[in-house]
């Protein structure tokens, strides 16, 4: 078995402008692209369509070649062993889910008296998505309500979700992911919300990308804290030379 630490980097890359379909049929591609446009719509800022979310989802569903980008973004990892087997099982589940999901969207469209989902109006598409999700379309966040929530697991895998939840998550991932995965074309998603983000994954490894300018540099700890007189940092380093710390650490204010 090839250990995860030895997974080979396959020099694959994804062209976000590609119209080549690796998983979807033409109809499925157009349907999911239309649904993605309703999930993150285009307004005065670009949306899912411009970010090429559809390419992101198509490549992810195509198999297990596009699951993990190489750390430096130079390609994708070739999974092996049990991890690969588990990933293939998940992939088959998603494939079937999307195939069925597109049929479901069209079926609801027909129940509403339309030909299919993709050729319906935006308003109708929203109603179809409402029906699919079983909930009204979300409204803007209000400031005059108080709701409470309960804790859940950190992280956000796409396991064990309904088709609608999966689709919303994948659209979001395609809008905000590192562009190496085919979505977030030209960092469109990041620009919409004001996330600086790295130019490339490689920039996150070698110190090129830094968020230092977003920190506060013009205050001192004694100014900031309730009751603290000076910054105590060991400048003497006696202990690193094998001795016992002299305790004379510098006081800066």
């Amino acid at each position: 078995m090839i250990s995860k630490s030895e997974w080979e980097i396959v020099p694959l890359s994804i062209d976000p402008d590609s119209t080549k379909k690796m998983f979807f049929t033409d109809h499925e591609w157009e349907t999911i692209e239309a649904a993605a446009e309703r999930i993150i719509p285009t307004d005065h800022d670009p949306g899912a369509k411009e970010a090429r979310v559809i390419v992101f989802i198509d490549r992810y569903l195509s198999g297990i070649d596009y699951v993990y980008a190489a750390a430096d973004g130079s390609g994708f990892l070739r999974m092996s062993g049990r991890d690969a087997t588990a990933a293939r099982v998940s992939n088959e589940i998603f494939k079937a889910m999307y195939r069925e999901g597109v049929k479901e969207l069209d079926k609801i469209a027909q129940e509403f008296g339309f030909k299919n989902f993709k050729e319906s109006s935006a308003g109708t598409q929203d109603k179809i998505l409402e029906k699919l999700s079983g909930k009204p379309k979300p409204e803007r966040i209000r400031f005059d309500v108080h709701e409470v929530y309960y804790s859940r697991l950190q992280g956000n895998t796409d396991q064990d979700k309904t088709f609608f939840e999966t689709l919303c998550l994948h659209v979001r991932q395609g809008f905000y992911c590192d562009p190496v995965y085919g979505g977030n074309k030209d960092h469109i998603g990041w620009k919409v919300i004001g996330f600086p983000g790295p130019k490339s994954l490689k920039d996150t490894i070698d110190g090129t990308y830094t968020t230092d300018p977003y920190f506060v540099h013009d205050v001192s700890w004694p100014e900031l804290l309730l009751d603290f007189k000076g910054v105590a940092v060991c400048k003497v380093s006696c202990a690193t030379e094998g001795g016992v710390c002299c305790g004379k650490f510098g006081i800066e204010s």
Binding site: I141, F143, R152, L153, W190, F215, V216, W221, F249
Partner: protein, 565 residues
């Protein structure tokens, strides 16, 4: 069937190379003993395998175990059927949790070690004192802070226990949301300060380079060695001695025990499915409190038919998990400066003011709070956020840079019924029964959750939030803190505990459990620093006393006064 290959015996085997196994590997190999360390996962190298890839680390679980391969099950009581759930996931690789964690490394308080003496019996809970005290651990806390590399602001935490040395690294400067938190705390009279973190900054005395300022931090591997991780500190230290060997991708199936109850070594399966027997004089379990308990329960023998060293029947019981709960505040972008909630190494300021018991609050105990990142774009945390449509897009655009969060490590009370045992139905990829977790919050846990999250809401309001979203503990723990304690309790009485103060099994003297499993109470701080210091202390004992054929007891002075802060 695979044939069982036999290897030359060594002095010590360590099962699990995370926060517990790492320090033990260093201490014992540096003392001259031959040590082999096992990890069921791979040995990933920070400079080769890690980067700031949100999708890979947060959504596609590059480091967390795939729940299909290494499942766990969970249920709320003995009458319910357990369901498969990735409860308390910790990376399965060399370095364990230290390779992905945000890395809050606050010290415990002296009160943590005498929790039952301070509070007496709490109905429905199984409070206990630790078999040693803060002063016994303090030298080791200091060793870890300096050898591992912890940043902090010495002297800023009011009411902290004695410390023998300052921190070796200054903290990061505050983030914008950190400053908002400090300002609000000052307004409310709360003593806030930078939390100790397991990373170094450029202002450090360790000669290490602090390079990673990407803010891709919690749950990410760090491609530099800015984060202190077992895989970049203790493991390389151990390897340098020439006495330590890492066997990655090697799953230990059981501890071999002879009829006298002496552990003879372990049986493990390598990456290609071949079984081996590795003999040793000492077996150290450090798999994390869930898996260490499971390993003991899996290791049945004639002497221990109910699992290794389980004479008391307590193996797996009294488990505690913490819960990470929080409140989020959103701000009006027309009237406030951006908070940039994506910045920082997860936390940017916290407080221990709500740590010690104040019965006016309606609960005992407490925990640490801290203001923490909202996260990167895909996984931005906003409870109740509209999931699609114009409202969804608007909320991302309006609040990604205009929200902040204040989190809390909930200290759950130990209960005998909150436990780890073997699931009768579900097996892992090696065909062995998985850990089943049974848990239900104690009424004190629920009360603590309410009180503290409401306090966090108050701080957010003082910071200027126009709306707050509290997130409380629900009907069950989710294991979302990835903290595990208590399942193989330490104590002085062998009828009421499994391990002694050295993490040594009362009834199997060459078996040591050196992770959080021994901790009789959960503490209100993140356990990693304490796990490392505890492991170091116990490994010191193994090296200098036990393997020299001697025994020593920790002396507990009578408690003079039991003042509460």
């Amino acid at each position: 069937m695979n044939k069982l290959g036999k290897l030359d015996d060594v002095d010590v085997v360590i099962v699990g190379l995370g926060a517990g196994g790492g320090p033990a590997a260093k201490v014992l190999s540096e003392a001259g003993y031959k040590v082999v360390g096992f990890d069921k996962g791979p040995w990933l190298r920070h400079e080769e395998h890690y980067s700031g890839d949100e999708l890979k680390f947060q959504n596609r679980s590059y480091l967390w175990p795939d729940v299909k391969l290494m499942p766990r099950t969970v249920r709320s009581d003995v009458n319910s059927k357990a369901r498969i759930f990735n409860f308390s996931p910790v990376p399965a690789n060399v370095g364990g949790g230290t390779s992905h964690m945000a890395g809050w490394t606050p010290r415990p308080r002296p009160s943590d070690f005498i929790f039952r003496s301070l509070h007496g019996d709490l109905h429905g809970a199984s409070l206990a004192d630790w078999p040693y005290r803060y002063e016994h651990l303090e030298p080791y806390l200091t060793k870890v802070e300096w050898e591992y590399g912890i940043s902090g602001l010495t002297g800023a935490e009011k009411g902290a226990g004695f410390r023998s040395k300052p921190y070796p690294s200054a903290p990061l400067p505050p983030t914008r949301f950190g400053k908002a938190f400090y300002d609000a705390c000052k307004k409310l009279g709360i003593n806030a300060h930078p939390l100790p973190m397991s990373h170094i900054t450029k202002d450090n005395s360790l000669g290490r380079e602090a390079k990673n300022r990407t803010s891709f931090w919690n749950q990410y591997g760090d491609p530099t060695a800015t984060r202190s991780s077992v895989a970049t500190t203790f493991i390389p230290d151990a390897i340098k001695t020439g006495n330590f060997e890492v066997r990655a991708n090697s799953f230990v199936k059981e501890v071999i025990v002879d009829d006298q109850g002496v552990a003879k070594g372990v049986i493990y399966v390598d990456a290609d499915g071949v079984e081996f027997r590795q003999g040793a004089r000492v077996v150290i379990l450090a798999l994390g409190a869930i898996e260490s308990a499971r390993m003991m329960l899996l290791s049945k023998s004639r002497r221990f038919p109910d699992g290794l060293a389980n004479d008391s029947g307590l193996v797996g019981k009294n488990a505690t998990f913490h819960e990470y709960i929080f409140a989020v505040g959103i701000f009006d972008k027309d009237f406030t400066d951006p908070l940039y909630g994506f910045t920082g190494n997860y936390q940017s300021g916290g407080s221990m003011d709500f740590y010690e018991t104040d019965e006016n609050r309606g609960h005992i105990g407490g925990g640490i709070i801290a203001t923490t990142q909202i996260g990167q774009p895909i996984n931005m945390i906003m409870p109740g956020k509209p999931s699609w449509g114009q409202a969804g897009k608007d909320s991302d655009r309006d609040f990604f840079n205009y929200s902040m969060k204040i989190g809390f490590i909930l200290q759950d009370m130990p209960q005998e019924t909150n436990r780890v045992d073997l699931d009768p139905d579900v097996k892992d990829m090696w065909g062995l029964p998985v850990a089943r977790i049974t848990n239900k919050p104690h009424i004190n846990d629920t009360a603590m959750s309410r009180w503290q999250i409401n306090k966090n809401v108050e701080i957010l309001e003082a910071a200027g939030a126009i709306r707050t979203m509290p997130v409380y503990l629900g009907d069950e723990f989710t294991g979302n803190a990835c903290h595990q304690q208590g399942s193989v309790r330490m104590g002085v009485d062998s009828r009421k505990s499994v391990l002694n103060e050295w993490g040594q099994a009362h009834s199997a003297e060459n078996v040591f459990v050196l992770d959080g499993a021994g901790f009789p109470t959960a503490m209100g701080v993140n356990p990693t620093l304490t796990i490392m210091a505890h492991s170091w202390r116990c490994a010191d004992y193994i090296a200098k006393i036990y393997l020299k054929g001697r025994t020593e007891r920790t002396v507990l002075e009578p408690l003079k006064s039991l003042e509460r802060a």
